[in-house]
Amino acid sequence: MGITFRKETFRDDFSFKNSPEHIRRFPFPFHEDSYMYAVNIEPHVVGPKGSVLENLIDVDEHYVAEMQDRALVLAEDPLRCQSLPHMTLAGWDLLELLMEQQALGYPEHFTLTREGDHWRWINRPLGIDDTFTFGDVSTLPYGPMEYITRQSQGDFCILDQRDGNLWMDAGMVTTQADWSLDFDIGMNFFEWHAPVPLAHEKGIFIRALKFLTNIQQGKPARRLNWTMTINPRLDTSPENYHKWGPDRTTVTPENVGDKVHLRVELQSFWRLPRSNGIVFPIRCYLIKMDELVTQPKWARRLHRVIRDLPEELATYKGLTRYRPTLVEWLSKLDDGSATSPGFGPD
């Protein structure tokens, strides 16, 4: 048993693909035929078997390839992983959380043994077997946050809570949708969200902050966010915008299905016990249009959402250049019939 990890790339020849089972478990983010910001936060509890919520920290068939891509990004640009000096304790909190959750959900792949502060961590997919002293940075090859997030899918932001606000004071960010950790580190919740249009006026961030600062230990929360990416690139950072930006000019009616990807972020929020900080894992799921439209309901709904998206949001998400081509392509798969409520395929 266990997961069969795919050999694939998120750059150069872009060999990334989802297996049929992974298409069905894709976290499609639209529960109705239109989209607008909302404080769509709900308790992060275990969901149905075979969904991405089967475990609270999801490991899937892309795990090994994603970790290899992360290592490439970090070798090129070490500033993608930073932790301000007061955040080391929170890094240990995160290490504990991710080791416990991965070992709990995937015992065939990960094993954690703890005897007091003497810990042993076995990560079979990546061929790691390390013993170390919990709390002693000199016993790990990297700081605790970097060590464990080189072995965990998704980006991770660690937020310090003080003065009624959350401060982005540490993070591992290599699979981001166009924001820079190096630039945003040290900012508060409102500041790092400053470039987001419309949501400030709607009071979204004030309500979201109030909720997040009250997240309690043992009661994580989650929300979905989305954007689109041309080619299955994990690294769409502003740092490399001049390298991936030209992809957006390459979309044609013939290659939409292969090139255009829906990018969904499963964001969760966890209180960290020792540091009283919050960790905010941002797990990115990619699916190409050809794969997505194998579910007719998703095809119809995505057509309506993209067609009717307010202009500010389309600009912010970087869809402007290829939106007409995409809408035209999707329209052929929308017979106008009703879609059932909820996220899942029919």
């Binding site: 630039f183 580190i185 409102f190 470039p195 502003p238 030209p246």
Partner: protein, 198 residues
């Protein structure tokens, strides 16, 4: 004054005397006038516990005006870089009860704030007042180089040469606005360059 913008763009206030044991002022050029305006509102003896670090503009004005306030310490520097070792030393030896006042150009306020943050002062407790030029310090998000005194939109990165959109998104830690390639998707698109940050 700076136009209304996004939340991460710094907002500057008007200097006012704060309760405290010591008062450290850092100002450049027209920023001196923010200090003299504060002096008009300050209680008697306020400058007896004050230290002023001043970097005059090219015209060398306002030095005598500040000296006339009779601060306990007065320092005139040639540039922020030349004043920096002194500023760091002052902060390293300071005690709680020291209040910080920053006045002048955005570049000066930003760099002095960056140094004070590293010394453990929370940014919300610093008094700031913008006077003079709106020229920006800009970090190129691509090559990470900082370009000083940016006055145009877009602007060319003085390190890697990319043509950058100067955003209002601002980092206190870097003391810089963010510059992002304006024609990354199609380099043949060259928007006109306008002088807007003066």
């Amino acid at each position: 004054m700076a136009a209304k913008s996004i939340i991460s763009r710094p907002i500057y206030g008007t200097l006012s005397p704060q309760p405290g044991k010591h008062h450290l002022f850092i100002a450049d050029a027209e920023g001196a006038l923010a200090i003299t305006d504060l002096a008009a509102k300050a209680p008697a003896g306020f400058f007896g516990d004050a230290h002023i670090i001043f970097i005059p503009g090219p015209d060398g004005k306002h030095v005598a005006t500040l000296e006339a306030l009779k601060p306990a310490q007065f320092y005139q520097g040639y540039s922020f870089a030349s004043a920096l070792p002194r500023l760091k030393q002052t902060l390293a030896n300071a005690h709680m009860g020291l209040r910080l006042y920053l006045a002048g150009t955005e570049g000066l306020i930003g760099q002095a704030m960056q140094t004070a943050l590293e010394a453990g002062i929370d940014h919300t407790s610093m008094q700031t007042e913008h006077r003079g030029s709106l020229a920006r310090r800009m970090q190129c998000v691509h090559c990470k180089g900082i370009t000083e005194n940016v006055t145009t939109q877009p602007a060319t990165c003085s390190h890697c040469g990319l043509l950058l959109l100067v955003r209002d998104h601002y980092s206190r830690r870097l003391a810089a606005f963010q510059g992002v390639c304006i024609n990354a998707e199609d380099r043949s698109e060259i928007p006109p360059m306008e002088e807007i940050f003066r």
